[in-house]
């Protein structure tokens, strides 16, 4: 067994990707200046959120997310043992390293944390309802940002005579600044509550483990999990629309072949038009739903790719025709949750412990809706709007001859977009020909090439020196990184041939044929009864969960979105296996033991 992971400085650049470093801001790279500490630190690849190569602009959300997370731990709340999480980009992939707090400051941090976090816990309901207002306002502000090409001459009334004193060129710069600053604000909001939610959950978790050393993680999750969760709302809307199509007799339109033909047929009848109106009502906001983690501009968003929701609706219509009941058994889930809670409560020996159990469960349930729901508002809804706005800007620049495709804008770094807009503004003002149309195309072509080369590199799971023990609570909860997984990456542990170990994320034992899905585009290939093997799963894959038997992912912890959704849909799941997509081939029979976190290749 090796005693450490490769140094980040010894990782080779894949052929054709030489000079990839220039695609990212210098502070996100491993550097000679910080080599000494970087080389002796433990870094793990975050495949939960960033399983693929980052294009330059897409690194924005990585940077915003990790900086926001870190500042809440270190500067706002002073989480006693944990400062932030350092992040680096290597060969286009994201590596993270939890930073422990200075032990000599712990006492002071405990006092601060007790005061600050205590305030949030005591006023959770008020602060959380305020959060819901803030986040909707923020999304509204994002929606209000309009990019338009600069006019031939400014409007006389609106711009010149109004006394505004600034013009469209300024406004365009300002709009881009708004997008990026609202993006940063969005990620501040995201972490305002998240780690506190995890902390309260963990406290209940640890209490359960003290009283019942053998209690399963799933039993604890089951007691806390919400029943009406916004994350499941998009799927519920699809089912509603499928039912509506059948009830109003327009379901046949979905056999038309493609989306355009379906829409033609729907538009031709009053019932069909009413159905479309109903679809549009669901779509805002519920179909601002990414087919991926929401962190990549390439992830398809339902509302912009309606063939995706249409295909799901078509499937649901088929299921309904076959007499399947699509309803989530909400009442049964609720009753089961109560049963589990009551049984554990009865098994507690002392009244004092029972009281503590109920108190902690109460707090966990108060905070948990945020943990479950924020993902829709931030990674799906708000991100969808930002991708859309950026694409609008990209399209304008296509018209101005800066590049070929709207998505080319994502091959610019965040700050380069500003330089590019400056070029556009100056050349419009002068006027003269902009330099951009000569400057950007070769850079974009070069970066596309680099990204393709990097995509062929299989990121190593970890870098640097492994810690003696993984204790940082959020690393364990969210990423599923434990001392065991670190050991198994190093080649130690009890790993047997043909066996993969991960987090026991959702209980149950099944066997079946595997299908390895590397890209969200391919989820339609999943067949009835197959087992999904993927780098990670997104909540928006829920519509295929009725067809499959189980889920296995490379990354993710107990609280990863994949785990939450699998538990909700009652599918066995093993997350955080590290190498499932590399070791398992489509068609192989595998056994998934979601109760113990073991996947066995049977062929």
């Amino acid at each position: 067994m090796a005693d450490r992971f490769p140094s980040p400085f010894d990782i080779e650049t894949p052929e054709g990707a030489e000079g990839w470093e220039e695609m990212y801001v210098y502070s996100s790279l491993f550097s000679e200046h910080r080599r000494k500490s970087e080389d002796t630190t433990f870094w793990f690849q975050d495949g939960v959120h960033w399983p693929n190569v980052l294009t330059p602009w897409d690194a924005t959300f990585l940077e915003y997310a990790l900086a926001s997370l870190s500042q809440y731990n270190s500067r706002h709340l002073q989480v006693p043992p944990a400062d932030g999480i350092a992040f680096r980009i290597l060969n286009g992939y994201c590596y993270l390293s939890p930073v422990a707090a200075d032990p000599s400051k712990i006492e002071e941090r405990v006092a601060n944390f007790t005061d600050r976090a205590g305030h949030y816990f005591m006023n959770w309901d008020d602060l959380y309802s305020n959060w819901m207002v803030k986040i909707r306002d923020l999304i509204g502000e994002l929606e209000a940002v309009q990019f338009t090409a600069l006019p031939e001459i400014e409007d006389a009334d609106l711009v010149v005579k109004s006394g505004a004193g600034v013009g469209s060129g300024y406004q365009m710069q300002e709009n881009y600044h708004r997008i990026v600053s609202l993006g940063l604000k969005l990620w501040n909001y995201h972490f305002e509550f998240l780690n506190l939610g995890y902390a309260a959950y963990l406290d209940f978790f640890m209490f359960c483990k003290t009283i019942f050393p053998g209690i399963s993680d799933q039993a604890i999750a089951k007691m806390v999990a919400g029943v009406d969760v916004d994350l499941f709302r998009p799927d519920d809307e699809l089912k509603r629309l499928a039912r509506k199509a059948l009830d109003s007799g327009v379901a046949e339109a979905f056999s038309a072949g493609d989306v355009d033909a379906t829409c033609e047929i729907l538009k031709s009848s009053a019932d069909g038009q009413e159905w479309i109106a109903s679809f549009e009502e669901s779509a805002e906001p519920w179909f601002n739903f990414s087919t991926g983690s929401g962190f990549y501009h390439r992830d398809k968003i339902w509302i912009e790719n309606i063939e995706v929701p249409f295909e799901f609706i078509r499937n649901y219509i088929e299921n309904l025709k076959e007499g399947k009941d699509l309803n989530r058994p909400v009442e049964a889930i609720r009753a089961e949750r109560d049963r589990v809670v009551n049984e554990y409560a009865e098994l507690i020996s002392t009244d004092e412990d029972r009281e503590a159990f109920q108190g902690k469960l109460g707090l966990a349930r108060t905070v948990f809706p945020y943990v479950e729901n924020h993902n829709f508002y931030v990674e799906h809804w708000a991100h969808s709007v930002i991708w859309r706005k950026m694409r609008e800007l990209g399209a304008i620049m296509v018209d101005q001859g800066f590049w070929e495709k709207p998505d080319d804008i994502f091959y610019l770094k965040r700050v380069e977009v500003e330089e590019m807009l400056w070029d556009y503004f100056v050349s419009w003002a002068t006027p003269e020909a902009p330099a951009g149309p000569g400057y950007w195309p070769p850079i974009i072509a070069d970066r596309r090439r680099k990204c393709s080369a990097l995509a062929n590199w299989k990121p190593v799971p970890a870098l640097g020196a492994p810690p003696e023990v993984i204790t940082e609570p959020f690393t364990v909860m969210l990423w599923g990184i434990t001392s065991d997984s670190v050991n198994s990456w190093l080649g130690g542990g009890e790993q047997l041939e043909g066996e993969l170990r991960g987090m026991a994320a959702s209980p149950g034992l099944v066997e079946g044929p595997a299908r390895v899905i590397l890209s969200p585009e391919d989820i339609g290939q999943m067949q009835e009864g197959e087992i999904l093997v993927a780098p990670l799963t997104a909540p928006s894959w829920a519509p295929i969960f009725g067809r499959i038997q189980a889920t296995v992912t490379d990354s993710g912890g107990m609280m990863s979105h994949a785990a939450i959704v699998c538990r909700e849909y009652g599918l066995p799941a093993v997350t955080g296996t590290g190498f499932a997509t590399a070791k398992i081939e489509t068609g192989q029979r595998i056994r998934v033991d979601g109760t113990n976190g073991v996947v066995t290749i049977l062929d």
Binding site: V79, P80, P81, A82, I106, V110, F113, T114, A117, G118, F121, A199, A200, L202, D203, F205, M206, F207, T210, I211, F212, P213, G214, I215, S216, D217, Q218, A219, K222, V340, E343, Y344, L347, I348, S349, T350, E352, D353, A356, G359, K360, L363, V469, I470, T471, P473, V476, M477, T482, D484, M503, P507, M558, T595, N596, G597
Partner: protein, 359 residues
């Protein structure tokens, strides 16, 4: 039911002194719908009545006078004398009539002539929660026919004076002539596999788990420790099998042609295969859980998979008694900051302590 014979289904709480721990336990289980094989208990009154009209008490007093329990030869000799006195003792006539009638009733109920029964001693002190004193008295299995049952009852009575039981009473200061015994007569099950189950994890006292030890054939191999049983841990609330350890069970106790239980070596294939199916494991766990719920405290049960019964109801509960080790301790978070009313102190302590979410 008579003053000498109490059927399991006629048992009521006030009768515990009459039927002893085992008899009461089986009676309670039957009353609670827990699936024990049918049977009855010959009461302590039957014992007393028979003893009163004999010379046994005088023999006991004489033989135990100035007994030195450190002198094993002396203990062996004197106890043997007492047991001989029991075996010559006449059972009181009305007791014997009731016993034979009850046995015939059991045969009638089971639709079998000379139904094999288990005849077990059910001492009033044996199963009390504060004295884990299991296995001190005798059990006679596969007894067929009235006469054999009567004989077995006599031997059970005599087993009050095994060397160990006698020494135990001397040590504990119990009066020998006040010790009484009832005897349970119960239809035999023919076990495919059998064993014990605890309604908690005996390693750490975790009450959310059921722990099952299981081996082929009669459960005696498990109770006596003669085989290393298969061991299963089941999540009591979610009813999931969390851990299986299948051992090599080199022997089993099985029924010989002449109705005795004999050791039998197992061929390798059978020795290493699991002695329970998943469905059986879950059914046993449910049974254990039902027993715990009924008695209101952690239980230690004996169970068997009966070859004579159908798949749906072949799990039979043989015995349930309070678990004695962990019940004295309280598994609790007491004393840790986690149980204090200060929720922030608890959260801080949670964050400060290493996590072990796996395992």
């Amino acid at each position: 039911m008579s003053e000498f014979v109490v059927w399991f289904e006629s048992y009521r709480k006030g009768l515990k002194g009459e039927v002893g721990g085992k008899g009461a336990s089986l009676g309670e289980m039957t009353g609670a719908g827990l699936p024990v094989p049918p049977g009855f208990t010959l009461t302590t009154t039957a014992f007393r009545k028979s003893k009163e009209q004999s010379h046994v008490d005088e023999d006991i007093a004489r033989l135990l006078f100035e007994l030195d329990i450190t002198d094993t030869d002396m203990v062996t000799e004197r106890c043997k004398g007492i047991r001989e006195s029991f075996s010559k003792m006449e059972i009181a006539a009305p007791v014997e009539v009731d016993l034979r009638r009850a046995y015939q009733e059991l045969c009638r109920l089971s639709g079998t002539i000379n139904i094999p029964v288990a005849v077990r001693s059910s001492a009033t002190s044996e199963d009390s929660p504060d004295a884990s004193f299991a296995g001190e008295h005798d059990t006679y299995l596969w007894i067929r026919g009235e006469d054999a049952v009567v004989e077995a009852v006599r031997r059970c009575w005599a087993s009050l004076f095994t060397d160990r039981a006698t020494c135990y009473r001397v040590k504990m200061g119990y009066e020998h002539h006040l010790v009484e015994m009832s005897v349970v007569v119960q239809k035999m099950v023919r076990p495919i596999s059998a064993g014990v189950a605890f309604t908690l994890n005996p390693i750490n006292g975790d009450r959310s788990q059921v722990c099952i030890d299981s081996a082929w054939g009669f459960g005696e191999s498990v109770v006596s420790g003669e085989v290393t049983p298969d061991n299963y841990l089941i999540d009591k609330v979610l009813m999931e099998i969390r851990q299986r350890k299948v051992s090599i069970k080199e022997m089993e106790f099985k029924l010989s042609d002449h109705d005795s239980v004999e050791r039998s070596e197992l061929e390798e294939e059978r020795a290493k295969s699991p002695s329970l199916t998943d469905a059986q494991i879950t059914a046993i766990a449910k049974l254990a859980k039902a027993a715990e719920k009924h008695y209101g405290c952690p239980q230690d049960i004996e169970w068997a998979v009966d070859a004579d019964m159908s798949e749906e109801n072949n799990i039979v509960l043989l015995q349930s008694r309070p678990e004695t080790v962990w019940s004295k301790k309280t598994s609790s978070a007491e004393g840790t900051s986690q149980s204090s009313g200060d929720f922030m102190a608890s959260i801080v302590s949670t964050l400060m302590n290493p996590l072990h979410t796996k395992k």
